[in-house]
Symmetry: C2
Subunit: 368 residues, 2 copies
């Protein structure tokens, strides 16, 4: 197996890179995954049998559209919706598998992807490609977010690349190809020329913000340069999530979201009343969930991330095992069977938040 | 010089501790200071000539009064006001010098302390003691905060210890002693028994909060166990300061202040309306100063910490030199002489905030 060639790293470096790969198994098969980006190889890159599944590149973010767009793009840019779910890469390595951002085969998403997408037809024609897909909706084990158009779990395929090189298809070609197979895609809001792009994106963001949605991904028409930008609603949602479990997520989330809000408030040149409204939304996102969680701990309730999964009994069992194997402690809140589907509501218990809150509630002090 | 004995560390450890001391000079005299706590020796501990000036211990903080007070104290506790300024230790080492928290002799505070306090009389009677004093008011080079009772600079002596051992005087003895010399002190709100202390402190905090003041220090009557607690107004002020210079201070300040707010909101069992008001105050503290600073940078204005000093021309010159010697870049905004006093308004320029904001305003992206 010529890993240097597969991963496109120099023969000198390949040993160093390979040292960082971790060994995993899926149904008796062994594969290796790269948990963090190294030497130009993306996080989540997988080596399996004699092939690679390249990680999805991290997408840079603009804080100011007016200057960020013209600085980043020199030609027309496609503006597509960024959805708030979790994304996987789907590649046919003997069979189609769904790999998480970190390169782990997901036992929930793999069968769901096969149900929701005609992968057999697609991979028969395009065996060397990989799909990047966002899974959205209230019923999944990772990111619960309500979309009016999704009752349980939906999928939006947002990218097609060569699985080994990671080279993307151009935007129009990608969208046409995905349409052929009937794959749902994120909305395309237009492909404006650079001089109109800022205005287009501003309008789209205003509208998405009003509708409580996340934001946009902009990209050059060849699919190679990607840039993201998100709504104030999304920042507030992120803060509310983080401060519902403050000692687990608060520290990591807060600064970046507040900075986004600061620049967005300045760029959107809001009236004093609008600025105040944004400030109040930020404050409520931080305080209300935190107070609720402290009260929950005081009352002895379980705190953690609540999720619901709905799937075949085999898939649900495999999913719960998989989460437990990753060291996550689960508390099952309900477990029913509806139309042959097992529906489980559970909490990923977050000990750090509970333990810290208990410590302070019992009179613990902080040394500063 | 027997440093092990002076510092009260074992002979085995003394070399290790001494390695962390840094050499400084003041008017030709050399002294050593400990920039961070090590092996039980407090931050800011100073070795000068053949004596030591022990650092002030860091005071733990309660997040919940109802449980924190009875857990921490087993007898009556003195409740005194905690003021929002900067504090120094004043010791007579040949002459009275004011040492910062980190153990640096302050060329602004040393002459101010001599003006504002009759140090000659005090140290004639108590050569081995040190005073801990908070300097408050709008005109100083460190922490500008308005107090209605202070027009330029005031001082409140809040602690008296043996300078070498760091052993404090009992509260009543300390307050009586300081009264004898006419030294201003922080307000004493009472010395309640433990069963009444929570209610007393709650009332005091409510009142201080309404008046925009910082909080309280509680201590056992022997002066040995200290505990602090602060008002919501103070948390909001801290956040507003930090987010006026977000890339310099935002990250360090935010999490701890929000957590304090969360527990305080829960303990004070506020109505929904009061909770919302607190949330809005938090949001405004974060967003408004940040937006103002981003707008300032966009307009090309200097950003940084604004301070005013008013003192003799010699003291002002020494103060500005001292700040510059510490690597702080100053921009002088006004420089006047009023009644023989030189009054300088200046900005400590914070390059990190300005540079980061400029980068994003010019279209820079963040890789996430």
């Amino acid at each position: 197996m010529d890993e240097a060639n597969l991963l496109d790293v120099s023969p000198d470096e390949v040993e160093t890179v390979l040292e960082h790969f971790e060994r995993e198994t899926v149904e008796g098969r062994t594969y290796r995954r790269l948990p963090d980006a190294r030497h130009g190889v993306e996080r989540g890159t997988v080596l399996i049998d004699d092939t690679a599944v390249r990680g999805f590149p991290s997408i840079p973010r603009a804080l100011v559209l007016e200057t960020g767009i013209p600085t980043f793009f020199s030609g027309p840019l496609a503006v597509e919706e960024k959805l708030n779910g979790y994304n996987v890469r789907i590649a046919n390595v003997g069979e189609p598998l769904a790999f998480s951002r970190g390169g782990i085969v997901c036992p929930f998403t793999t069968p769901k992807a096969r149900e929701l997408l005609d992968l057999e037809a697609f991979f028969a024609d395009h065996p060397e490609k990989m799909l990047s897909a966002e899974f959205i909706g209230p019923e999944n084990p990772y990111t619960a977010h309500e979309y009016p158009e999704v009752s349980s779990l939906g999928v939006r395929v947002f990218d097609v690349r060569d699985r080994v090189t990671g080279r993307p298809l151009p935007v129009r070609e990608r969208r046409d190809l995905l349409s052929e197979y009937g794959f749902p895609q994120p909305e395309l809001f237009g492909i404006p020329e650079p001089d109109r792009a800022v205005a287009v994106v501003r309008d789209v963001i205003d509208d998405l913000d009003d509708r409580g949605r996340e934001g946009v991904v902009m990209q050059s028409t060849d699919g190679r340069d990607l840039l993201k930008y998100t709504t104030g609603t999304q920042h507030a949602d992120d803060l509310a999530f983080a401060f519902s479990l403050p000692f687990d997520y608060g520290r990591d989330f807060i600064f970046s979201r507040l900075i986004r809000e600061g620049f967005q408030a300045v760029e959107f040149e809001e009236s004093d009343a609008e600025l105040r409204e944004r400030a109040h939304r930020i404050g409520e996102s931080l305080l209300f969930p935190m107070v609720e969680t402290i009260r929950d701990v005081r009352a002895g309730a379980t705190v953690g991330e609540r999720h619901t999964v709905r799937a075949s009994p085999e898939t649900v069992a495999a999913t719960l095992d998989h989460l437990r194997d990753q060291g996550i402690r689960l508390e099952i809140e309900s477990d029913r069977t509806i139309d042959d589907q097992r529906v489980v509501e559970f909490v990923k218990v977050t000990d750090k938040t509970r333990d810290s809150i208990e410590y302070y509630l019992e009179g613990g002090t902080i040394d500063e």
